[in-house]
């Protein structure tokens, strides 16, 4: 099953976007967005994974012949996580403001009120 991680990433993306489209609550929508974004973690990490590879932490106890998983994509995943955290923080703050102003967190009703 060498394609399974890629299929998982695709599934997470599709299911997250499905949740965003059909969402009836802004908080639910934000969480669905994080699910969609989780697909990028799976994709990045599985691109850099090496079967039997060690964590890329090179200490004196690691044998010189050992192979490592790719540290570059792991660093990229770290960036990805931080960006997701910031996006969620700002979106949730906007959700609170929207709820205060319109008295509802249903995205469909928000559109009707502002239009």
């Amino acid at each position: 099953m060498t394609v399974l991680p890629y299929l998982v990433a695709t599934w997470l993306l599709a299911v997250g976007l499905w949740g965003v489209i059909t969402s009836r609550h802004l908080v639910h929508m934000v969480i669905c967005l994080t699910v969609a974004q989780a697909s990028t973690y799976v994709l990045l990490l599985s691109v850099g994974y090496r079967t039997g590879g060690k964590a890329p932490i090179v200490t004196t106890t690691v044998p010189p012949s050992s192979q490592f998983v790719d540290p570059v994509v792991q660093a990229l995943t770290l960036t990805d996580v931080v960006v997701e955290a910031t996006v969620v923080a700002v979106l949730l703050a906007l959700t609170i403001q929207a709820h205060k102003r319109f008295g509802t967190a249903d995205p469909d009703e928000l559109g009707e009120l502002s239009g």
Binding site: T10, L13, W18, V47, V58, F68, D70, A85, Q97
Partner: protein, 245 residues
């Protein structure tokens, strides 16, 4: 709702098909195409950093991390501005009814008080050992912010209103971002390039080694602690405001 669901299902199926088609050409799982070993060993040889993930984050991609840190800084600022908007009115509304705030369960207070110390120590450990083992500024910073949140959970409203921590976490956030920028300028001054390593590299595996990497890690740790704590306290503040309704 119905037509939207149908369109969404069709579009997402097409999208999933496209994604599967495009990732089909990627390297088979378990055999990365890049030369990960060479990158890892070269980082250890040239930069004396044991944790090569942080070697990438704070050295090879240090400029990207500067941008990433500033994104976090601005997000903290942005959500604070958004959440503080209109706070003044609500506070006055609430002054009318002097109801006692809901009491925290004793068990939560005790558990919170017991956990604060270990969580903070672990957070500091993770921040300062980022170049030696798993962890680093981002990870440890979130732990430290969680430790701060435990103080609120244990003491709740009393501590929150008396300590008024927002100014402090704002200072932490700004000084962390500033420290990172200063190290970047330091590289410019001493080495001719921004974020150039101008500190002695030391022995790989020592706490004081790897040049600017642990310094940047600590700067990021302070910044992430401040930003996360700022965001969490602003949301907590909203909860407390709404608690009286």
């Amino acid at each position: 709702m119905r037509p939207r669901t149908v369109i969404a299902a069709l579009v997402l199926t097409a999208l999933a098909g496209l994604v599967v088609w495009s990732v089909g050409d990627l390297t088979p799982f378990g055999t990365p195409s890049g030369d990960a070993d060479a990158v890892a060993r070269r980082l250890v040889r040239d930069r004396h950093v044991a944790n090569t993930v942080n070697g990438v984050t704070y050295d090879l991609r240090a400029l990207d991390t500067l941008g990433e840190e500033l994104i976090l800084f601005l997000a903290g600022l942005g959500s604070a501005v958004l959440l503080r908007h209109g706070r003044g009115e609500e506070v006055e509304e609430e002054r009318g009814d002097e109801e006692a705030p809901p009491r925290t369960a004793d068990l939560l207070r005790v558990a919170g008080a017991l956990l604060v110390g270990p969580v903070v120590v672990l957070g500091v450990y993770v921040v300062v050992h980022g170049h030696l083992g798993p962890g680093g500024g981002f990870q440890g910073g979130v732990m430290l912010a969680a430790g701060l949140l435990l103080v609120y959970a244990a003491g709740q409203v009393v501590a929150l209103e008396r300590v008024e921590p927002t100014a402090l976490v704002e200072v932490a956030e700004s000084s962390g971002a500033l420290a990172y920028a200063l190290v970047a300028v330091g590289g410019l001054v001493f080495g001719g390039a921004a974020l150039f390593n101008f500190l002695p590299l030391g022995t790989t595996g020592d706490l004081l080694s790897a040049g600017t990497i642990p310094v940047l890690s600590v700067a990021v740790g302070v910044e992430v602690t401040g930003a996360t704590a700022l965001i969490l306290t602003e949301f907590l503040d909203q909860t407390l405001l709404r608690g009286g309704e």
